[in-house]
Amino acid sequence: MILTTALALSTALVAAPAPITDDDAKTAGGILKKSDDVVSNYQDQEFHTRMTLKTGDGKVEKVIEMKIQQKGQNKRLVRFLKPGDVKGLSVLVLDPNTTYVYLPQFNKTRRVAAHTSKQSFMGTDFTEQEMDIIRYDEKFEPALVKKDGHEYVLWLTPKKGAEFSFAYIMMWIDEATGFQNKMEYYNAENVKLKTQSRGEVKTLDGVVTQTKVVMTDHIKKHSTEIEILSNKENQGLKDDLFTQRNLEWGK
């Protein structure tokens, strides 16, 4: 479901940096694995994020704010704070096939099926596939194109059996931090479809973090910007946070 996987992307931003070592850099796979380790290196997280949708000329269309708590790779609780028409809506993900939505208008918790992952999410520029990728080394074969200053440039092609709406990704990985700074998505005709840029490194709650990602759709002339407003990691979030009881509690 888009709601859930969207948050995987936000999650990818809040990661502690670690340099790519010479050992890591011996192979493209080593570079990508180290970078993926940086991105997914947490036990639990709690963060506040803002998504801003913009037209091609930079005009803001919509602002979406969420508070997200998650534990491990699967359990996730999302509370929508903005815009007003979705305020109060909450989503609980227990595993890829088990998602509940609390609808405050009906005082009702609803099981939602996994097919909803095909739905677009409030007009953002992320597809389900793009947001569903937490570890790139699990779904792509990397090849080192070059080292561009302080960045490694990798060429990622989908592994056999993995199907994507693009043909390949060019990825820029920061040598010093392991952060994935930029990704460009191309079709088979080498036309650049989208660009994802990550940056604005800040220290949030003691963790050095990329706090901003911008996905630009070059075809639609539209962009979505995600900002991490606050972040806490490894607080020891309890399992009972990820229950229907807490989902309905609303705080």
Binding site: L3, G84, R111, A113, A114, H115, Q119
Partner: protein
């Protein structure tokens, strides 16, 4: 003959039906209520309300006050930090009737019959970690005046009608006595069941059919809900206690189902009784001697005594991919059911056609007791394209209600007739729903084909208003699709509710524009199609309308 059909637009305010299945768009309306505001409006008079026994009502209120105080004390929340969460919303709604023949008279083509502007406020107060108070207030401004006589012109209430209501004014405490126990007390809407809008196991709150476009809306009621959570089962056991019965609000059009001109559509489902009623009507009319008056309808509300409390229990748990629940409810059918129909010849009246005898009818409506055993489940099926499926079924055991037609006109041969008697209490015909079980169910699925195409389909056996006889329950298909355009900013929603039994339909197309933050513009229509004696074709199901609606939430 069909029952007093709520205008079954089969859907709530536009966005809700698909939202229930996880769609992105949301209704702006937020439920809730502030008891203190009502007290202020009433000048702090005892709020017993019409029809309530003051002594009992006061006692009940006091009981709740004591319980609430006890809960707060038990939770130790007296000095806890309070966090407030506010929600505001506005909604403006204008509707134009486009039919000619579905109203009380047939000369009102193209007129506005609905203009409602709602301002809502909801607040959640989190008191410490374990106490939550929720209040909601909705103020409704009606743009259509209620002026009927000279004096109304100086009465602002008639010139500019306003109403206040509330969906919530309750307190919830977590960890009361046991860590896994939660208790809610107060005025609230509480939901059971898994089906979208048409849940036969969801009998906790009465329905609200005032607005034909908000099908499935509910009225808040006073209750206590205790839930003991079972983490190892991903489930819970829940008990609900409702001290006072509250009936479903019927749509304005429901009265048309009980007019003299619509005798064939009166809410009498039993074929024998219905035929007797029609025969009675036409026999008198055929003689050219009678002047038929609209029936006088009397509602027999259950008293607010201890004997009329309702409640139930429900257990919910996870089994593999399935979320299952089983429930038991004991209460009353919240739709009125005709119990007695009296048909009398009254005085002679001189009319343009000559001297006529008034033919008067009195109908007594009751709310029969019911017991409901419910089973429901919901699942996402990974082995079937991740299809979402659900089932919601209820076995209902009704109180025996003798539906009787009394008349001054004895008709021999009817099995219920009292041979040899004359006078006003001769039972002409009868039917009775025996105290046997009958069943209602809803089964549905939904699926997302592409990022811009979603579908939701449900099969229904039995409708909200249908009661008492297996052969009185119709079968329905409720289906709809969502088509998104312009980067999700424009939604075309097409919904239909088809009565398989009699072939009538409701069509409900809508365009919903969500271009700006928190704002929604709607343009839509609702059409009731079918013969005059069908579920959705009869006048009681409401007018054919086009509407515009604006929603803002912040």
């Amino acid at each position: 003959m069909k029952g007093p059909t709520p205008t079954c637009t089969a859907r709530r305010s536009s966005t809700e039906f698909l939202l229930l299945r996880g769609n992105a768009k949301l209704p702006t309306v937020t439920p809730s209520g502030f008891g203190i505001v009502f007290d202020a409006i009433r000048g702090f008079r005892p709020s017993t309300g019409p029809g309530l026994h003051p002594r009992l009502s006061t006692a009940t209120t006091s009981w709740f006050a004591v319980m609430t105080a006890s809960l707060l004390t038990a939770a130790g929340a007296a000095h806890a930090e309070v966090t407030l969460n506010h929600t505001f919303s506005l909604e403006s709604d204008l509707r134009l009737v486009v039919d000619k023949n579905r109203g009380a008279t047939s000369d009102q083509l193209l007129h506005f019959n609905w203009n409602r502007n709602a301002v809502e406020y909801k607040v959640q107060a989190f008191i410490g970690e374990d106490v939550r108070a929720v209040g909601h207030l909705r103020t409704l401004f009606f743009g259509i005046h209620e002026i009927e006589k000279m004096n109304d012109l100086v009465d602002r209430r008639q010139m500019d009608p306003v109403r206040i209501d509330s969906d919530a004014a309750f307190l919830e405490v977590k960890g009361l006595v046991f860590d896994d126990l939660s208790v809610k007390l107060g005025r609230m809407i509480h939901t059971w069941g898994t089906a979208d809008q048409f849940s036969p196991t969801d009998n906790i709150n009465p329905k609200d059919f005032e607005d034909p476009l908000r099908f499935g809306g509910k009225l808040a009621n006073q209750m206590a809900v205790a839930t003991y959570y079972l983490p190892w089962l991903s489930g819970s056991i829940q008990a609900v206690w409702i001290p006072m019965f509250r009936p479903t609000q019927l749509p304005a059009s429901s009265a048309l189902g009980m007019s003299a001109d619509n005798v064939s559509q009166m809410p009498v489902r039993d074929p024998g009784l219905k035929q007797a009623l029609i025969d009675e009507y036409y026999r008198e009319k055929g003689q050219g001697a009678s002047l038929f008056m609209d029936p006088e309808i009397r509602v027999n509300m259950p008293p607010t005594d201890l004997d009329n409390m309702s409640g139930g229990v429900r257990t919910k748990f996870r089994l593999g991919e399935y979320d299952l629940s089983a429930s038991y409810f004991r209460g009353r059918h919240s739709f009125p059911v005709p119990k007695r129909i009296y048909s009398y010849s009254g005085k002679d009246v001189r009319t343009a056609e000559g001297l006529r005898t008034e033919q008067r009818q009195f109908i007594d409506l009751v709310y029969p007791r019911i017991q409901v055993i419910g089973l429901d489940f919901a699942a996402s099926l990974p082995w079937l394209f991740n299809l979402g499926v659900w089932f919601d079924g209820a076995a209902i055991h009704p109180e025996k209600v003798d539906m009787l037609l009394y008349t001054t006109n004895y008709r021999p041969g009817d099995p219920c007739a009292t041979p040899g008697m004359t006078g006003s209490d001769i039972r002409l015909a009868c039917s009775r729903n025996s105290d046997y079980w009958y069943y209602k169910m809803t089964a549905g699925f939904d699926y997302t084909f592409t990022s811009w195409l979603y579908m939701n389909v449900q099969y229904l056996h039995g409708f909200d208003d249908e009661f008492g006889y297996e052969d009185a329950l119709d079968d329905f298909i409720a289906g709809g699709v969502d088509l998104k355009f312009l980067n999700d900013q424009l939604l075309l929603r097409l919904f239909t509710l088809h009565d398989i039994t009699d072939g009538s339909d409701i069509l409900f197309p809508q365009f919903i524009l969500n271009k700006w933050d928190s704002t929604e513009l709607q343009l839509g229509a609702i059409f009731n199609l079918g013969a005059e004696d069908t579920k959705f074709g009869q006048k009681a199901s409401g007018r054919n309308m086009v509407f515009t609606k604006v929603k803002v939430g912040f």
